[in-house]
Each structure stands twice: as structure tokens, then as C-alpha cells.
Symmetry: C2
Subunit: 245 residues, 2 copies
DNA sequence: ATAATAGTGTCTGTGAGACAGTATTCT
DNA sequence: AGAATACTGTCTCACAGACACTATTAT
């Protein structure tokens, strides 16, 4: 997908698409000046024990050289979610990840080029799959801590703050956190997800008690041995036991 | 605002709006076929001890004769929220009400005329102010129980279900319910709001205990006398005591 | 007196949070 | 033996939910 902000094409007026039915009914859709619609996808993952977001460095006006949330135009025949999936696929090579519509930002003036309304999605990627996939490690793509962001283009700072708020809000009444972990994980790793996102330490015993009491975890029987200490049990998320923590 | 679906204008191609800056940078925004953007506003209120939504009867193709959520195009220089406020004002004459962006629906094919992406807002109106305002009681505008809806145009049935879900979800961790009541109200009236929205009976003593313990209510000193029974205290919502129930 | 709704208190179970010591592995 | 992290149980307090009777007004 074309990066949002790349200079595009020639000066031909975009043809409006009107269905046969609409023509038959003499329905005309082209009266109004119409805003552009894009989707942006906030992709977050846990990296280096930090909550990080994927950003793209802008190569042209406006906000040249600043970092931005990846996004692009919505194709005329494509659902919003499909557009978001396409963007996700193009940037990370990953499919089938958690994807949720976040909010639609559309203030006039948020983009100096023209009126752009952007439907923002946010995606959670588990670090393991991310490593496998072709990490486009070009100089103009990078992962940044949400707690230490570079200067951002457009209203993208606001969008990221909004995303973080949503993520935190959903953390304790949904199972959203599991999307940041690989299939098998230890309880300590899960706790770390919560601690990083909520940005606070939690009590180990209370955390384990609470999670285990819900029954959403399944003991895989396997253990994770690393380092010079007692190995930890590996659990698996059990979607069948649909509990809301 | 033009009702969504009213046949509009002539066949002139909509002029794109490009800023001076964009022209200077040779930025062209007109390459893509672009979807139309509308806003829809789900307006809900308590009427006759029921949760009702304002709908508009369509007078033309498509879905002629069916009921639809009021909405219209977003003007090129107007924020999404301003467009929603304008729609609200036009339909109910009411201003300064609770208004929240809900979700953006944009599946191709949801509107048979052309690709339409609609940003849906929802508004909560208190019944008292609503009576004062010019209730456009035309035959093609009506209030319907969300629990007994007529056949709806487009994907509006889905949108209303989504709205109801959001309202219910927010009920017990926000103060959203107060927006459906006039400034002064009795505890029983507040309880009725919860009961109607959650569609279940609640225990009077527990409800009062819970609400009063939060401190978000202020006793006005006044009482509401009606009927042949003990009068009820009138309370006021105290936003200062920002509690999340 | 009757009808109608407002208003009030106790008990019990559950879950959240505070809190410290033992277990297992590797070197 | 020491280092490092995994793992476990109890107490207290607050809140949710079940539950029934008295208070006040108008007719």
C-alpha cells in the first residue's frame, strides 16, 4: 500500500463509482465535495520488555522526516477492515492477528494537503511471529516505545495516546493481552504484559490467583527452562473457557 | 441536513479541494476513486418508560418506505462531530447533549447507490428538553422502542444493536445514564433508566446503596410530589465528584 | 382506612489486595 | 553454596446481592 503522504499519480479527477441500480434510479452521488478516506493501523508489540509501536518515516511533504502511523487509502471495493489487513500484511508480513477498529479521526486541517478522514485500527502482534516475518528493516521503518516517542506527523501523537487508553481499558475485562504473547507462555510473561501496558508493578501471587481462577489458562505440561533457576510452567490460552477475567 | 438517501443534485463532478500548500508541493489527491462519507446519529431518549430511538422514513430508493437512522453528508470544512451536532440540531432542535462517536461502518455494498462510509455517533437526550424542543412530528419522523423496531434500511439494524451494546457496556462504569434524565430526578427514576437499558429488574435497596455511596448525587432539598403517595427526594448529578460508579 | 410509592439495614459470600517464605534449577 | 527465578496461602476489607418492613402522602 502506498504510504500515506507519498505523492500520488497525475491530475486526473477520480471517477466516481456508481452502481447500475443507482443509474437506473437516476441517483447522483457526485454533488458534494468529498473528503478522502484512509485507514491507519497502529501496530503494537512487545519487544525488549517494552510496548512498542511500528512507525514509518515520512519522505515527503508534509511532515517530511517525521514519523507516522502506517496507513493508506481505502480501495473502493474493499471493506475498512480488509484495507487495514492489507496494510498490516504489507508492513509486517503477518496475517491473522488481533485487529480492532479504534476510532475515526477527521478534523479538517489534520492533514494540510486536503480533507482526510482516517479510520484507525489497532493491531496486536506477538513478538515471536513478528521475528519470523520479514521485518522490513529499512531505515524508514522502526519500532518505538510508546513511552518514548519521536516527534510524530499529523495528529498521530493523539492517536497513539488514544490507542494506549483503549488498550489499558480493555485489559482487565477482555482477553486482549494474550494477543501479545506467543501460543505458549509462562504466567510471569503474562504478568509482564500487564505490567508493561498498565505501567505499574503487580503482586505476583494475586495476579496468578486471579488469572488461574478464571480457568482461561490450560497447562501445556511443558516447562520453559532458561537461565540458572527453576523452570516455569508453560500455559496456553483456552478460548473455549470464555471468561472475561 | 439532507436526509441520507434523498436524491441529490445534478451530475457535475464534485470539485476536489486542495490547499494552496498542496498545490505548491505538487501534491495530487485525486488519483483514487473515493468513497462518500456520511455521519449518522443514533438519538436515544427515554419516552413512556421505554428506550426509544428517532428514525426517519425514507421517501426514495433505496429502501423506500423503510425507516432509517438520520444522517447526512459531512461538509468539506466541518469536523465529524460538528456534522453530527448539525444533524442533531436539525432533527430535534436540541443542542448541548451527550454525543459520542460510536463506530464507523463502511462495508462495500452496504448502500446500493455507491460506496458510503458512515461514521456513526450516538446522542442521549433527556425527555424533558425534548418535549420543549420542536418535535418535528411529521409523519416521516418517529420514535421507536429499541426493543420493537420496524424494518430498517441499510445496515441500520446492526448499527442499533451495536449502539445498545455500547450503551449497556458503559452504563456501570460511567455516568452516561444521567444524560437521559432532566437536571433533577428521583432515585427511582434513575433506577428506571438502568432497568430499561439493561432490560432487567434491579433491587431497590442495593441500587440506592450503590449510587449514594459514590457521592455523585447531590440532594436538592426539593421533593417530587405526584400521585397519592409519599413524595420522593429530588437529586442532582454532581459532576465535581468524579466517580466512576 | 386504603392505596400507592418512598425509604431503610443486615447478613453472607466473593473477590481484591497486602504480605513472606519455600522450591527448583544451574554453575 | 550461591544465584536466580518459580511457586504457594492467609488474612482483611470492601462490595454485591438476597431479602421485608416502615414512612408519608392523597383520597
Amino acid at each position: 500500500m502506498e504510504e500515506q503522504g507519498t505523492s500520488v499519480g497525475n491530475n486526473m479527477q477520480g471517477r466516481l463509482r456508481v452502481t447500475k441500480e443507482a443509474e437506473e434510479h437516476h441517483y447522483d452521488v457526485s454533488k458534494y465535495e468529498r473528503p478522502s478516506v484512509t485507514i491507519d493501523v497502529v501496530m503494537m508489540s512487545l519487544r525488549q520488555r517494552d510496548l512498542q509501536v511500528l512507525l514509518i518515516k515520512r519522505r515527503s511533504w508534509p511532515f517530511e522526516g517525521m514519523w507516522a502511523i502506517p496507513g493508506g487509502f481505502v480501495n473502493i471495493d474493499e471493506s475498512l477492515e480488509d484495507a487495514a489487513k492489507r496494510e498490516l500484511q504489507e508492513e509486517t508480513g503477518v496475517q491473522d492477528v488481533y485487529l480492532e477498529q479504534l476510532y475515526t479521526f477527521g478534523d479538517p486541517g489534520r492533514d494540510p494537503r486536503t480533507r482526510v478522514i482516517t479510520v484507525v485500527y489497532f493491531a496486536l502482534l506477538d513478538s515471536e511471529r513478528l521475528q519470523v516475518s520479514a521485518a522490513s528493516d529499512a531505515a524508514d521503518v522502526g519500532w518505538f516505545s510508546v513511552y518514548d516517542l519521536p516527534p510524530l506527523a499529523f495528529d498521530h501523537e493523539k492517536i497513539l495516546q488514544y490507542t494506549l487508553g483503549r488498550l489499558r481499558g480493555k485489559l482487565d475485562y477482555t482477553t486482549i493481552a494474550f494477543n501479545l504473547l506467543p501460543e505458549r507462555f509462562t504466567l510471569r510473561e503474562l504478568q509482564r504484559v500487564y505490567e508493561i501496558i498498565l505501567h505499574k508493578k503487580m503482586d505476583k501471587r494475586n495476579f496468578r490467583k486471579k488469572i488461574l481462577s478464571t480457568g482461561i489458562l490450560e497447562d501445556t505440561g511443558a516447562k520453559k527452562m532458561e537461565g540458572t533457576h527453576r523452570p516455569a510452567r508453560l500455559y496456553r490460552f483456552n478460548p473455549a473457557a470464555e471468561s472475561q477475567l
